[in-house]
């Protein structure tokens, strides 16, 4: 493998003659990892906006049932289900994954390990094209007769497998096809990341010299690869059930709906860590730069990440405690689930430990990074309620679950991404983003976010079930306090969405008019800051050599408080 990788690599480098490229070459058929990374980013953010608008529609329905949603219209149960389903699907598969793994991975991995491009640039482009096609397919599924799929993002059969039940004969297969294509795109991308890290590191870069975010993205890719296979097979089976009428998941014909649940969650739980780990990596980079401090116990972070990844394969059935699995199995999965809290706790402690004795500059990315830890801790602790079988009997499929995983996913996919964007924006576009507006955006995001989901913990405890389009149909849930908190959550959502406008204005304005940034605006150590901002085609004038670990900040006896990885040690 190595041979061919490097051969292809050399081949790719030949193609990268530094001549002027036409527009098509530069943007549409580009094999440059930076362009592909930005394409992933833009597509992902666009899909994220769609997902956020979907949440606007159904949250309005939750708070004011039956009222016409401004700018949208009346929400029927069909539309509601479709919005909820596609909000979940889009946010995880078309926003969190492309932005966290594909965009940051593509953009950062070659820069951070000091090479000029991915080892398989054309595979990379193919991966993006498949991804783009899958996004288009998903959006198209809204507009087919009978509407888009509405069977929840878990897509449990027989609801998902039989048009008689889900009443979306075209939407359901299109949804499933889009998801399957998206998996293929990320498989190709993941192979590329792993091979790149293994084969194309700068000379001198040893295992413990690799920046944490690169490690995290690669570990996440490996997890994705090992877990998604059965679900791809399962997706083929479900697609045949939907279109050809086979009976893989039809109990009357020997199939078993629980088989799908297992296939789905065997992938679905590692998937949580697939998106968590890159976010952890981004936060590690931002924390160390703005705390001017070495990452506390690098090896511990790395090995807890590996341990989390391994353990994540043993915990999936905690999503199915009351789903009809054998109750004896639940005990095993409770043990493994509680076990996985250990490495995650340790990782969180290490991040807090990194701040000990630091010199913290509360810039916008740093604020987001700290907010990530604050919010993620809440998400992690509330997870224990759900991982412990006894408590899960009550909390399963309530808004408590929903609030819990939003407390993990929003820090991961929104807050950590903002930290990363504010941090690497100068590198991507050669200009700073406006810091004042960044801070306003931060407070407008972090505070309303808690305003959305803390009330939902409460309504979940009171028994609100998920995916119910109107809780007032249930007399016990028509209590005044619950109605108030539902409206509170919705208003918080509106505020949070409103503040995102500031981000987009800031983003696009700074892209063209922002203050010019030097190559290393934050005085950071890692390789990407060695390249010019924005990095040209081919990244580095000469490929750097690595002399030390990525987090050597505030080393005693040095004039500056940073020590770039490519700077040779002074002769003694």
């Amino acid at each position: 493998m190595t041979t061919h990788a490097s051969a292809d690599h050399a081949h790719g480098a030949d193609n990268h003659g530094h001549h002027e490229l036409t527009f098509l070459q530069k943007y549409v058929f580009s094999t440059d990892h930076k362009v592909i990374g930005l394409q992933y980013f833009m597509t992902g953010v666009f899909m994220g906006v769609l997902g956020a608008l979907a949440s606007y529609v159904f949250r309005m329905q939750m708070a004011f049932p039956g009222a016409s949603v401004p700018g949208f219209g009346l929400v029927t149960p069909q539309i509601y289900n479709q919005m909820v389903t596609n909000h979940g699907t889009i946010m995880i598969f078309w926003f969190a994954m492309p932005v966290l793994i594909a965009a940051f991975g593509n953009y950062l991995i070659p820069l951070m390990i000091g090479c000029d491009d991915m080892v398989f640039p054309r595979l990379n482009r193919l991966s993006y094209q498949i991804f783009l096609f899958s996004a288009v397919l998903l959006i198209a599924s809204f507009f087919v007769p009978y509407g888009g799929f509405g069977g929840a993002w878990t897509s449990y059969p027989p609801l998902a497998s039989n048009p008689v039940y889900n009443q979306t004969p075209y939407g359901a297969p299109m949804w499933l096809g889009a998801v399957a294509l998206e998996f293929v795109a990320f498989l190709l991308g993941g192979i590329n990341f792993i091979t790149t890290l293994m084969n194309a590191r700068a000379p001198g870069m040893k295992m413990y010299d690799i920046p944490m975010v690169v490690w995290m993205i690669v570990i996440a890719s490996i997890l994705f690869m090992a877990s998604v296979g059965p679900l791809i097979a399962g997706a083929a089976m479900l697609l045949f059930d939907q279109t050809l009428g086979t009976g893989f998941f039809d109990p009357a014909r020997g199939g078993d709906p629980l088989l799908w649940e297992h296939l789905f969650w065997f992938f679905g739980h590692p998937e949580v860590y697939v998106v968590l780990l890159p976010a952890m990596g981004i936060v590690a980079e931002v924390l160390t730069v703005f705390a001017r401090k070495k990452l506390f116990a690098y090896r511990t972070v790395l090995w807890t990440a590996v341990a989390t990844g391994v353990l994540s394969f043993f915990v999936w059935a905690h999503h199915q405690f009351v789903a009809g699995i054998d109750p004896r199995m639940a005990n095993i999965f409770t043990v493994t689930t509680l076990l996985i809290s250990v490495p995650i706790t340790e990782m969180s402690f290490v991040y807090i430990g990194t701040l000990y004795g630091a010199s913290i500059q509360l810039s916008t990315p740093m604020l987001f990074a700290i907010a990530f830890i604050v919010e993620f801790l809440i998400g992690g602790v509330t997870g224990i309620f759900l991982g412990a079988s006894g408590a899960d009997i009550y909390f399963h499929d309530t808004y408590f679950v929903l609030a819990h995983f939003h407390y993990t996913f929003v820090p991961i996919a929104v807050i950590a991404v903002f930290a990363g964007v504010y941090h690497w924006f100068p590198k991507m576009f050669g200009r700073y983003m406006n810091d004042t507006w960044g801070r306003i955006h931060f407070w407008g995001t972090a505070v309303p976010f808690n305003g959305i989901f803390i009330p939902l913990f409460y309504t979940g405890m009171a028994g609100d079930h998920r995916r119910t389009f109107d809780h007032l149909n249930f007399p016990d849930l028509a209590r005044a306090d619950l109605i108030f908190w539902r409206q509170f959550a919705t208003v918080s959502l509106l505020i949070m969405l409103g503040f995102q406008v500031i981000f987009f204005i800031n983003f696009f304005y700074s892209m063209f008019r922002g203050k010019k940034a030097p190559a290393n605006p934050w005085n950071a150590n890692t390789f990407e800051w060695v390249a010019a901002s924005p990095p040209p085609h081919g990244n580095f004038p000469t490929l750097p050599h690595c002399y030390r670990g990525p987090y050597e900040y505030s080393v005693p006896g040095r004039a500056t408080d940073f020590w770039p990885q490519n700077e040779p040690a002074p002769k003694t």
């Binding site: 083929a236 045949f240 088989l259």
Partner: protein, 170 residues
Amino acid sequence: MWWLLGSEITIFGGLLICYIMMRIMYAPWSEAAAHTNTLAGSINTFVLLTSSLFAVLAHHAAEHKNGKLAALYLWLTIGGALTFLVVKSIEWTNEIRHGYTITSNTFWSFYYTAAGLHGLHVIAGATAMAIVSFDCLRGKNLQRVEIVGIYWHFVDIIWIFLFPLLYIAK
């Protein structure tokens, strides 16, 4: 490449595990399995094993920088792939004619899904080999022979497991 194969293992592994679980559970499926054509399966196993041999010989030739010979062996391998597909299509035609379609029952669903997925890999492998063989004739990119070869052996291995699972165990 190895990572690609690793992910393929989990895809086929997932499908086959589902099949195995149901097969063990529903013992009467053996009566459906009795209607598979063991002869066709055996011929195909033989064809694939032989084509694997050609693939490794192609790699061998490529190692010795003999592009023309490597291309020849690759085309023999592709011939094996085509033979495999022809036998497969005759077999399926017969089975469908006897009324065993993908919806007949879940055994046949698995049979067609697993074999169909494998067939797609055969087609993909043959296409890749065809592309590589043209480069070989010009003596370019000889190291790619090994990649397609490895892929082809993997397709072969999958069949080695499919064969007893679908045809022999009754």
